[in-house]
Symmetry: C2
Subunit: 218 residues, 2 copies
């Protein structure tokens, strides 16, 4: 799944030209292909083995890329995982536009639920969250990932405020966080079932709490 999205991204980058994505990337389609292959291999290794056993040389081998390229470009395992998270944030689906708050939030919670229960993606998130506990750089990359996803979905809540569905002063970001939180709690803490019913309940609870004014910033 990730593979085909990576390929699509590579094609998109080829179309757009890489000057649209400044920073870590050097111009040229080959660079984007290398990045896609290495991030794919890093994600596979993370999902299979966890963070502690990640090895840049082994990832280079899996990706069919020279070891020195990987060391030169990413430098370290936390550096590579940070880039993987940035790539995942960029590739994640855009927000819903169903016309109702509950519809949008259900789309969000079901997307999170599908991601966390996907065998590969679920293990990947668990591995990165576990690594973030004792690695500050990975923790920062993880926080940036959630920040990007919350920024993508927050307009669903702002539009609900503008439509008069929610009280003025509601913090859109808090509402989006509230949708994800019960699903991560099940995944990481309580171990309760992480099914579609749990996703719908998370969206319904966040909607009800938002309507009551629980997320108005003081």
């Amino acid at each position: 799944m990730h593979g085909s999205i990576s390929r699509e991204l590579t094609e998109l980058e080829a179309l757009l030209g890489e000057e649209t994505r400044p920073g870590t990337l050097r111009p040229g389609g080959r660079t984007a292909q290398v990045r896609a292959a290495v991030l794919q291999a890093a994600g596979d290794a993370l999902a299979e083995q966890g963070f502690a056993h990640l090895d840049l040389a082994e990832i280079a081998r899996r990706a069919g890329v020279g070891k020195t390229t990987v060391y030169r470009r990413w430098g370290s395992v936390p550096g590579l995982v940070a880039d993987l998270l940035m790539d995942m944030a960029e590739q994640s689906l855009p927000r819903a536009r169903t016309g109702s708050l509950l519809g949008d939030l259900k789309a969000n919670s079901r997307l999170v639920q599908r991601t966390l229960t996907d065998p590969r993606q679920g293990m990947l998130f668990k591995a990165v969250i576990a690594a973030a506990v004792c690695d500050a750089r990975t923790a920062e990359a993880l926080h940036r990932f959630y920040d990007a996803r919350i920024t993508e979905w927050a307009p669903c809540v702002q539009e609900a405020v503008d439509r008069g569905e929610l009280p003025t002063g509601t913090d859109p970001r808090e509402v989006i966080r509230a949708v994800s939180a019960p699903l991560y709690y099940r995944l990481l803490a309580s171990g309760d079932p992480l099914d579609e019913a749990a996703a719908d309940q998370a969206a319904e609870a966040a909607t009800a709490a938002a309507r009551s004014g629980a997320y108005i910033t003081p």
Copy 2:
């Protein structure tokens, strides 16, 4: 803090006689003292170094207890961490009885918030949650810990149903989970501030969602 609670537990066990706690414990106050000292040392080591570097011999040394005693009684690091979690569940504060649902849930959310932001306890939970990602035995022990805590606090919600504060059919355990979830999401995923305001918001949101019927079991 943990030390004084451990001592109180030891005194309580001495009063009750250990036949009230069957299973892993042999009779006698000395056994309870050894357990308290070893669990204290295990918790300190977890909070300082994380799970990966835990070493039974080192914990025995810290606790001033013979190495063979620790190996014979707990067998392995996951076995020791499972017993530590059971001890933490037993020692955790009893549920609140404020007379209102919001009052009780705020007491719960502030207790969780204080625990997760306490330097020692917060690191301990992060370390155990990280370890549970790749160790099934630790994951089971963690799930039992939350199960015990949810069972302790669920009557606050059932009493609110009985008082007519919440709709009939509300699942008390889901409401208690909903209070904790946003706090764990901040700790483990988003990195957003985990302050008293976040705790109060979690309690208010769970109360509002429960009143709207979001936690009625289908």
